[in-house]
């Protein structure tokens, strides 16, 4: 176990196809403020939004955004209950469909509102216990990525980054029994949390004519650090990963660390034989001072950053 280096989510970079359309969604409907350009490592058109938490959301324009709406990938934003009511009112007024799902993770039992941005990025609204009057999101609560190998991922996030597993799904009989409720249409679960498996051989106790299809929980886990959590969901398909040598990319999740934490993480990655870029020092006017760029074992872009 290594020393904990990641404190909370500093910022996330989300891909969108139309920056102006996305600005209306995130700015006018969700209430992110301060749209500006000038994020230090963005090479394409982009917009930077701020939140009261000090965290940032960067929208990066690209022709074919990688949003993965049918997977467990999502971004969760935190707001007060009254804020969420106001946000939902605006979303409904704009014709945005709001989904309510049951949750596996106990901490999210009451936080089951989801919407999609115009490019299919799935967004969860999480009540933070407050009651704001502004009707805007206050920060980033958590984010989730998908991965083709959960063992590699857990080893990486726990042993390299020093995070702690907070919740696992798919390791208990109870998870499989509960998946039957979803199969029978009795529980509406968020995308990426359940799946249909086609068994490669007949299922004991079932007639071959009844088929080999079984409902299962889609395994995932959450790691916790400071006030943030990160979900890692098993991918149900293989997508082309970015080339191995590309270390700075999008979509990306950035974690805040202290200055020494960036150097310590670089040494850990080097010891593990993992590629990284940096730590890079940004210009004095940039919103972050230094960044270390790398990927998790399944190709998700990550960043450790230290603010000014």
């Amino acid at each position: 176990m290594t020393e904990l280096v990641a404190k909370h989510i500093s910022h996330i970079v989300v891909e969108v196809a139309d920056l102006e359309r996305a600005q209306e969604f995130y700015g006018d409907l969700l209430g992110f403020t301060g749209a500006a350009e000038g994020w230090p490592d963005c090479t394409s058109r982009h917009l930077v939004f701020g939140a009261a938490s000090g965290q940032s959301l960067i929208l990066a324009e690209t022709k074919a955004p990688r949003a993965f709406p049918d997977s467990g990938v999502h971004q969760a934003y935190r707001a007060g209950a009254t804020d969420i009511a106001a946000i939902c009112s605006r979303l409904k007024g704009a014709g945005v469909e709001i989904f309510t799902y049951k949750e596996d993770r106990p901490a999210e039992e009451g936080d089951n509102l989801y919407v999609h941005d115009p490019d299919g990025n799935r967004i969860q609204l999480v009540a933070d216990g407050g009651h704001g009057k502004a009707g805007v999101v206050r920060g980033i609560d958590h984010a989730a990525v998908m991965a083709t190998d959960l063992e590699w991922e857990e080893d990486f996030y726990v042993d390299v980054l020093g995070l702690e597993v907070e919740f696992r799904l798919g390791w208990n009989t109870a998870d499989y029994v509960r998946a039957q409720l979803w199969a029978e249409g009795k529980e509406d679960m968020a995308p990426g949390t359940r799946r249909w498996d086609e068994r490669y051989r007949d299922i004991p106790g079932r007639k071959p004519s009844d088929g080999r299809r079984v409902a299962r929980p889609n395994s995932h886990f959450f790691v916790i650090f400071g006030q943030s959590v990160l979900g890692v969901f098993l991918a149900n398909r293989f997508d082309q990963e970015p080339p191995e040598e590309i270390l700075v990319g999008t979509p990306r999740i950035a974690f805040e660390a202290d200055e020494a934490g960036l150097d310590a993480a670089a040494r850990l990655l080097e010891d593990r034989g993992r590629r990284f870029h940096g730590p890079v020092s940004h210009d004095a006017g940039a919103p972050v001072a230094r960044s270390l760029y790398f990927k998790d074992p399944c190709g998700n872009f990550l960043e450790l950053t230290h603010g000014h």
Binding site: T148, D149, L150, E151, R168, G170, W171, N172, T173, A174, Y176, V177, R195, D197, E198, R199, Y200, R212, V214, R216, N218, S219, L234, A235, N236, R237, F238
Partner: protein, 160 residues
Amino acid sequence: MAEVESLSHSGICVHDLKQAEDFYCKILGAEVYSRVNFKTQDALKGRSVHTSLQLEDYLFAIMLTEDFMDLPPAGQLHGANRTRHGFAVPRDRFSTVMAALADNEVAFEGPVDHPEAGPFGQSIYFKDPSGNFLEVLWRRDENEHYNEVLGMGHGSAKKG
């Protein structure tokens, strides 16, 4: 008649894979050999959910059941609900196993003395967290080297 040669491996059904891994690895000293169904390629094939464990030279799988199994009464420590796995340890490590069980608050029955004329010395009986009956024993013949399975002198088993 088919002539199978030996036991290759076995499977133990469990309700909680992580809990079972911890039990067999941290208390009994097994090591994780492989896990199945935490990779996309396993999910796409619809494979069963299990972890293969290695305990010295023995390979067995702890297999997650997709329905709940009947459990034996909580106080029953000796029996065979589905199967009972008996693991051997050298006599001088037998007390270490008992201490490990006690340290981890795993209730066990025994040690039970076996007849002196037989190959077994003493056994302890306990259950894993999913209610599977287990046994750990030491053998009086632990220093013997067997090169082949000897016929029992009855049935159709071949005699050497």
